[in-house]
């Protein structure tokens, strides 16, 4: 069974983002970019499946500008076998990415697709569910644990705890934080990854309309909260909470 994983190039999670002065978006020039952390978990899970003999090949997919190849290379260095890159300089929203992925799935016929539950830039939490819908596949979102057998048993993180579901294969899985701890690529594997193939496609060649459906009118700084005061004693804190804030 082939496994397809999606990797998104995002501003590194350690970077403190800055909103552009003209309110058109967030500053990305000269900012460190990395693989979306939830996608690293997806790549790790797919590689572990291959190591356990549950997967035959791991394909890493990304869509976006030329630099996305670096993100795919990272996945290849972790252990993915080959890459597919849909080159696009346009803004790609979740529905468009799901459609591009569907076109690649139709071609590659994987038995399982694993994606991060959300990207830490737009925080949409949509692409996996949308892809499952377009393919007519089952979906195992916010996965905490996966077990592949006849189908795939998924332990999902839900509001009150965990939920177990059994999905028919093929399926789309979205990863939550505790599914695994992604490995670091070793230097020899980084070197080896340079030789692994990355196929480049375009949305036009795949026949997918990627026009954005949501227009971003403006992006602003969030309202800031003013720091309050430091109190010296617990008695003072309780007094303030009672008489000033009136919350206890």
């Amino acid at each position: 069974m082939k496994v397809l994983v999606a990797v998104k190039r995002v501003i590194d999670y350690n970077v403190k983002i800055r909103v552009k002065a003209d309110k058109t978006g967030v500053e990305t020039a000269n900012v460190k970019m990395s693989m979306n952390p939830f996608d690293e978990i997806a790549v790790e899970e797919a590689i572990r499946m291959k190591e356990k003999g549950k997967a035959t090949e791991v394909i890493a997919f990304s869509a976006g500008p030329a630099q996305c190849q670096e993100t795919i290379r990272t996945a290849l260095a972790m252990g993915a076998d080959r890459g597919v890159h849909v080159l696009s300089d346009a803004e790609l929203q979740p529905l468009a990415v799901a459609k591009l992925m569907k076109a690649v799935v139709d071609k590659e016929q994987p038995g399982l697709v694993i994606v991060g539950k959300q990207a830490i830039d737009d925080d949409s939490n949509q692409t996996g569910q949308m892809l499952a819908a377009l393919l007519g596949w089952s979906q195992g979102t916010f996965a905490n644990k996966l077990e592949i057998g006849e189908g795939v048993a998924v332990k999902r993180e839900v509001d009150g705890g965990l939920e177990n579901v059994m999905l028919k294969l093929p399926a789309v899985i979205t990863t939550d934080l505790r599914l695994n701890e992604p490995r670091y690529a070793s230097l020899p594997n980084i070197m080896k990854a340079k030789k692994k193939p990355i196929e480049q496609l375009t949305s036009e060649a795949l026949g997918v309309d990627v026009a954005p459906r949501l227009k971003t009118l403006k992006v602003e700084e969030p309202p800031t909260r003013k720091a309050g005061i430091k109190v010296k004693t617990v008695a003072e804190l309780v007094e303030k909470l009672k008489n000033e804030a009136g919350v206890i």
């Binding site: 529905l95 692409t127 569910q129 979906q139 965990l162 059994m166 430091k230 303030k240 909470l241």
Partner: protein, 311 residues
């Protein structure tokens, strides 16, 4: 055009956040209908009908909806969608699982976690873990929107909408519910608690969380944790407050041994009053706290617990 609010429920009661979603729908304008899909969900439907502002409840009974599998419920929502201009649901785990599937089947975008309705087609939503706010306008005919419940004051009760029985759409047979491992707790649910006591890595062990439990019980508070504390295995995942966990906005949030990573702040900075207890006076949590105490939490927390007991 009317607005369809999809209600998550457990058969007997609808989730508290349905009243918040109805409030958001009311702001959009038009008749508000609530869909209660389930198996034996009559009581939940009655409860939905009592939310102020609801014009009609659609109750869809089908064994396939008993456990809210997205594959099956999405097909039902899509069937109903042509009659509506908006489909709205609270952005909890059920809504996040279901609504993108609905949107893709309708070939429309989803607006995720709206925190403000600017106009019927324009919404404000947080991006980058709440470090920026995007105002987005939907160009789609049907707008699929999840709303962050804490940003919309819950609609009141006292309504008496009609309940209309509609048929189910059956099961697609793609997925089966096996069971749940739900944390049992006498404490109020995190997202609806008036007071939340939350612990971080500073607690140093799961055993030490007992101390917070005692404080939480005195205050009648919900108990939360930072991602660091969950990752360290001190408490289960459903305790997590933050951008990728739960978003809370209680009257009082007490952050104990939490440094205040951006990720965590995104999940609690809309709280009315924030208290921080941390030994590191440079901890970022103090930048959002109304009241801070710098010191050893193992000394301060028992002292605070005792002080509250005395009241």
């Amino acid at each position: 055009m009317s607005v369809l609010v999809v209600a998550a429920h457990d058969g007997k009661t609808v989730r508290a956040n349905v009243a918040n979603a109805v409030a958001a729908a009311t702001q959009i304008g038009g008749d508000v209908h609530v869909l209660v899909a389930g198996s034996g969900a009559g009581d939940a439907a009655k409860e939905a009908a009592a939310i102020a502002g609801v014009a009609k409840v659609l109750q869809a009974e089908d064994a396939a909806y008993a456990n809210w599998m997205a594959e099956d419920v999405a097909a039902l929502v899509v069937k109903l969608a042509p009659g509506y201009g908006h489909i709205v649901m609270a952005a909890d785990n059920v809504g996040k699982n279901l609504m993108p599937r609905v949107a893709a089947l309708l070939d429309v975008a989803q607006v995720s976690e709206a925190i403000q309705i600017v106009s019927p087609d324009t919404f404000v939503r947080p991006i980058y873990a709440g470090n920026a706010m995007a105002t987005v306008q939907s160009t789609d005919k049907i707008k699929v929107v999840t709303v962050r419940p804490t940003n919309f004051k819950a609609a009141a009760g006292g309504g008496s909408a009609a309940i209309e029985q509609i048929g189910g759409a059956g099961s697609a047979g793609l997925s089966n519910y096996v069971g749940a491992e739900i944390s049992k707790s006498e404490r109020p649910e995190l997202t609806s608690a008036k007071i939340v006591v939350s612990g971080g890595r500073g607690l140093a062990s799961g055993e030490n969380f007992k101390m917070l439990e005692t404080l939480a019980d005195k205050l009648g508070a919900g108990l939360g944790a930072s991602r660091a504390a969950v990752d360290a295995g001190y408490v289960p995942n459903d305790y997590q407050v933050g951008q990728t966990g739960k978003v809370v906005a209680p009257d009082l949030y007490i952050a104990i041994g939490i440094s205040g990573a951006i990720q965590h702040l995104a999940g609690m900075k809309d709280s009315k009053t924030i208290v921080a207890i941390n030994k590191d006076e440079e901890a970022p949590i103090f930048q959002v706290a109304d009241y801070g105490i710098v010191g050893d939490l193992f000394q301060i927390v028992p002292e605070l617990t005792a002080a509250i007991e005395k009241k």
